[in-house]
């Protein structure tokens, strides 16, 4: 009985790895189906690990090892990125974060996630930032690695009038909602995002609330937005 099940699961997983998810989805028994799905995830992970092992990455590892040991993580990451993706680091004066240009951010993000020395597999937080009226906007990413337990901060500046930053939704899945929230609050458009809509405010809300020059709209669908209070100035 259980051998049959195992065979069924392994068959289904094989099919699914080739892109045919119907086999798994058509398994009648719920328990078996969930087991098959779990097995699929495991198989994918193994496959990914195998690819990672196969792919020769000596120069990257060396790149990190070659750096002096007393450098902080931020400096190491910054040095490695500067080497791998030239002209992306804007300045490396500050020690607390990496100031980057918007271009290649998607590739860099992927690199940071997959590089075995860094393995930033978790995007902790995406913060929009406004330098003030008539100045630039900025997006700040807090990356964290569950394996190595280290974290860095990456900042990307963008123009206030045409704010655009590449989306990392496909690198870290939570990027989806974080970027939508940043868009909602600051109007920063993340290029390549699959569903760039407001998330917290209503879709037809006007203005970008967390910008410093934001002014509350007068009415929203006939509702007066600013607070009105009798006998209270």
């Amino acid at each position: 009985m259980s051998e049959d099940l195992d065979k069924l699961i392994s068959d289904a997983v094989e099919k699914a790895l080739q892109g045919d998810m119907d086999v798994i989805n058509n398994i009648e028994d719920r328990v078996t189906r969930s087991k098959a799905k779990a097995a699929l995830v495991k198989a994918k992970r193994l496959a990914k690990a195998a690819i990672a092992e196969d792919a020769p990455k000596p120069e990257e590892s060396k790149a990190v090892e070659a750096l002096p040991a007393e450098l902080s993580l931020t400096e190491k990451v910054s040095a490695v990125i500067a080497k791998k993706f030239p002209n992306t680091i804007e300045s490396d004066e500050e020690n607390s974060h990496i100031q980057m240009k918007g271009k290649n951010w998607f590739e860099i993000a992927q690199y940071l996630r997959d590089n075995p020395d860094f393995l930033f597999d978790s995007l902790q937080c995406v913060t929009g930032y406004d330098f003030g009226e008539n100045e630039d906007l900025e997006v700040r990413y807090n990356l964290h690695s569950m394996t190595h337990n280290h974290a860095i901060e990456i900042r990307i500046k963008t123009d206030r009038n045409d704010p655009k930053v590449p989306s990392v939704e496909k690198v870290w899945r939570i990027g989806d909602w974080f970027e939508r929230e940043t868009y909602d609050m600051y109007g920063i458009v993340f290029e390549g995002h699959s569903n760039m809509t407001r998330i917290l405010c209503p879709e037809d809300w006007e203005g970008w609330p967390l910008r410093k020059d934001y002014e509350v709209q007068e009415t929203y669908h006939g509702i007066v937005v600013p607070k009105v209070k009798d006998g209270w100035e």
């Binding site: 989805n25 913060t127 917290l200």
Partner: protein, 372 residues
């Protein structure tokens, strides 16, 4: 045998629905009982917490943080206070640290009790819900003697506490723990190991660890998937490294690792661990003045900080940018429930109507924190 697919029906679960835990709307596409797509729509409770914070001083932010995760206000206050203290490099007295940990862990128990109780309600068991609320009420009574408020405490301040423990507080916490710890066994018998409950939750809504990490899911939800990750242990703040306690993780005892039952059970065990921490902290509680390190005026130096703490729902982090004035220039709250909810669409595909409710309940979201 071929499978017949009819047209999909769009169904709105919420914003007004008994089991959405607030005003959440789930746009669900169903094929009969089977769910093929879930899209959470949030923002019904949005009140622009972050914009508010940019207009009030640092100490006035604390009542606002109370209202984000209103089930675990102490932890929110705690996180905020720890963040500002790290930015200002304040060293708080040891008594303050101990008291903070006692109240934060008590609040964690209260929050988990609510999460587990309403989860029972989601799967149809009414009585465990009331038992858990009965015990939660005792914690709230403790908090009432502590600071007068039952839900929104404003107790942990930057650099200290609003006031010291009342007399006999330590004894009453001990007696509460003596009362409470046997109750966990009763919950287990009544609900956790009930066959119907297991059938409803085991193997449902499996959240694989990779997906969880990629979605930024943290806290009991991530631990339920078998990842041993807890800020209290892995990036200790305050004095959590002084205590001896375990981090429970999901083991797939009743089904697959990362299913609803695991998430539920991790919370159940966590309550025991919190009780352990509280006992140790109560025993080691030093004397001292809790107001000693309170700054006269909170004016953090220029700079920014990102600091994580472990709230009952996961990584609660504040990103604070200070421009040297007494008003925060930018305050961003990374709420754990926000990321936990975003994974719902991913893990609830292909399950049934009732399962989606069960999965949503097992994620333990608080809409006040998601929408901020």
């Amino acid at each position: 045998m071929g499978v017949i697919h009819g047209d999909l029906m769009t169904l709105n679960i919420g914003p007004q629905h008994p089991s959405t835990h607030g005003v959440l709307r789930l746009k669900v596409k169903t094929d009969g009982e089977i769910i093929s797509e879930v899209e959470p729509i949030i923002g019904y409770l949005h009140r622009c917490f972050e914009k508010h914070c940019e207009n009030v001083t640092y100490d006035q932010v604390i009542p606002y943080t109370d209202r984000c995760d209103y089930i675990a206000s102490m932890n929110n206050n705690f996180g905020y206070a720890v963040t500002i203290e790290a930015l200002m490099e304040i060293k708080v007295p040891e008594r303050v640290e101990y008291i903070r940990i006692i109240v934060a862990e008590l609040n964690r128990i209260a929050s988990h009790l609510l999460a587990l109780g309403t989860y029972g309600l989601d799967v149809g068991a009414f009585t465990p819900f009331l038992y858990m609320f009965r015990d939660r009420e005792r914690i709230l009574d403790l908090f009432e003697t502590l600071c007068g408020a039952r839900l929104l405490y404003n107790y942990i301040w930057v650099g200290g506490l609003s006031h010291d423990l009342p007399r006999d507080f330590v004894e009453s916490v001990f007696s509460f723990l003596d009362y409470f710890e046997p109750k966990i066994e009763e919950y287990n018998e009544l609900l956790t190991y009930n066959k119907i409950f297991i059938e409803r939750t085991a193997d449902i809504g499996v959240l694989p660890p990779e997906v969880a990490i990629s979605f930024g899911v943290t806290g009991p939800n991530l631990r339920g998937s078998g990842v041993k990750w807890d800020i209290r242990k892995d990036d200790p703040y305050s004095i959590y490294d002084k205590f001896d306690y375990d981090i429970p993780i999901g083991a797939g005892e009743m089904g697959t690792v990362g299913d609803c039952w695991d998430r539920y059970y991790v919370r159940m065990v966590e309550m025991k661990e919190s009780a352990k921490i509280i006992r140790q902290a109560l025993k080691g509680l030093p004397a001292g003045d809790v107001h000693q390190a309170l700054p006269k005026k909170i004016r953090p130096p220029k700079g920014s900080i990102y600091k994580r703490t472990e709230s009952p729902r996961g990584d609660l982090a504040y990103y604070i940018v200070s421009d040297g004035s007494p008003i925060p220039y930018r305050l961003k709250m990374r709420s754990p429930a926000f990321t936990a909810l975003s994974v719902l669409g991913e893990i609830s595909q292909g399950w049934m109507m009732s399962d989606v409710i069960a999965i949503l309940g097992s994620l333990d979201i608080v809409l006040g924190e998601i929408d901020r």
